[in-house]
């Protein structure tokens, strides 16, 4: 039965991806893509990769959809959506053959792979040293902390890149439009009720993340979603991009991570955690990272400044 479910899910994923990429109508493609993110999260769930499923559920099914609808809206507002060209049939034939070849070669390579669970046993055997019950968190913040540190910096770099698209004269302004809602309407009520729930869920995910599925990225995404929702519902405005408080929130995670890394250099290597204090240090990094990731993601979705700031 399990395999039948998996086969149905895979068929659905491939079908939805084809509709999103090749179907008619851009808006329909976006709707299919939102569904696609959800189905991919279910695929990870079925593979028992709950940590990945959480990240994909929050990012793929939530935040990416909002980003793309925003881009669609910007094009639609300028009546720049059309045309949506399809390549010449000769291109399509050759592209189809080439992609079939690539897919086939990949499939052959996959079939030739030896089985096995890779490093699972090694991670489970050694994660006790870090006093962490969640193997994925142990890898993210223990064994491959370099990746995670650099990734938090990639996120910041992406935000700098987005901010570099600020129109002339608006630097220091506020991202996105000021949202309006009917004060007693459905949207305002929704925006009042959901963010607190999101806040609790986000804190829960980072708290649970050391021993159960969850962690800084999943929590940060849920927190960012709560922030974005409050802004969409008009309850709260985005901060000015030069706000010192905002800058502090953006930097605290990577800064703490770098600091721990630098201190660790004294203990025998960059990012070597002080012995006996591994877990408190990892938890501190996790909480700080969750906050920074939340702020960075929320502002990434908001885009570059669009309005002049307030009193300056």
């Amino acid at each position: 039965m399990s395999l039948v479910f998996d086969i149905a899910l895979c068929a659905l994923i491939l079908g939805v991806a084809a509709m999103a990429l090749l179907g008619r109508g851009l808006f329909a493609s976006l709707a299919f893509f939102i569904v696609y993110g959800l189905l991919i999260a279910l695929a990870w769930l079925s593979l028992n990769a709950i940590d990945v499923a959480l990240a994909e559920a929050a990012i793929g099914a939530g935040v990416t959809g909002v980003l793309l609808i925003g881009a669609w809206q910007a094009l639609n507002a300028q009546s720049a959506l059309d045309p949506d060209p399809v390549a010449h049939w000769i291109t399509r034939v050759f592209a189809g053959l080439g992609c079939l070849a690539i897919g086939g070669l990949l499939a052959l390579a996959i079939l030739a792979m030896p089985g096995g669970t890779g490093l699972t046993t090694e991670v489970i055997d050694t994660q006790g040293q870090l006093d962490l019950g969640n193997s994925v968190t142990a890898v993210l913040l223990g064994f491959r902390a370099y990746d995670t540190l650099l990734e938090s910096i990639v996120l910041l770099a992406a935000l700098v890149a987005v901010w570099s698209l600020t129109p002339q004269g608006l630097w220091g302004g506020i991202p996105g439009p000021r949202h309006r809602t009917r004060p007693d309407g459905v949207m305002a009520s929704f925006g009042r009720l959901l963010p607190p729930a999101g806040l609790i869920a986000g804190v829960y995910l980072v708290w649970a993340g050391s021993d159960a599925p969850g962690g800084a990225f999943q929590a940060g995404t849920v927190l960012a979603a709560a922030w974005i929702l409050a802004v969409l519902a008009g309850l709260q405005d985005e901060p000015e991009v030069t706000s010192p408080l905002l800058r502090a929130a953006l930097l605290i995670g990577p800064a703490l991570f770098l600091l721990v890394g630098a201190v660790g250099a004294g203990f025998g290597g960059f990012l070597a955690y002080p012995e006996g204090f591994e877990k408190p240090v990892i938890l501190a990094i996790e909480y700080a990272l969750a906050l920074s990731i939340a702020a960075t993601l929320a502002l990434l979705v908001a885009g570059p400044p669009r309005r002049p700031g307030g009193a300056r």
């Binding site: 109508g25 459905v186 949207m187 009520s189 929704f190 009720l193 959901l194 729930a197």
Partner: protein
């Protein structure tokens, strides 16, 4: 099969039935507003029965509380989304 298992299975069957009913409504109803009306109610009822079935299966109060929270959030989101999408559909008319 124990009584608990039969009860859980019955809940699941009813739940899946309502999901199908919602999809049939989405496919068969004539205009956008009646389609909205069909699917939000049927699907959330279906989800309620699935939550019930899973709750019976786990038989744990904390898990049942989490399931109830999930259901509440899903209903809330679906209700708000249906209302807002209906308004948006009124506003833009029936453009594709």
């Amino acid at each position: 099969m124990t009584l608990i298992e039969i009860l859980a299975s019955a809940c699941l069957a009813v739940g899946v039935f309502f999901f199908f009913a919602g999809t049939v409504g989405l496919l068969r109803f004539p205009d956008v507003h009646s389609r909205l009306h069909a699917l939000t109610k049927a699907d959330n009822l279906g989800l309620a029965f699935i939550v019930l079935g899973a709750g019976i299966h786990f038989g744990d109060v904390m898990i049942a509380a989490k399931l109830a929270l999930v259901w509440f959030l899903a209903v809330f989101a679906a209700g708000a989304a249906a209302q807002l999408v209906a308004r948006a559909a009124l506003r833009t008319g029936d453009e594709p």
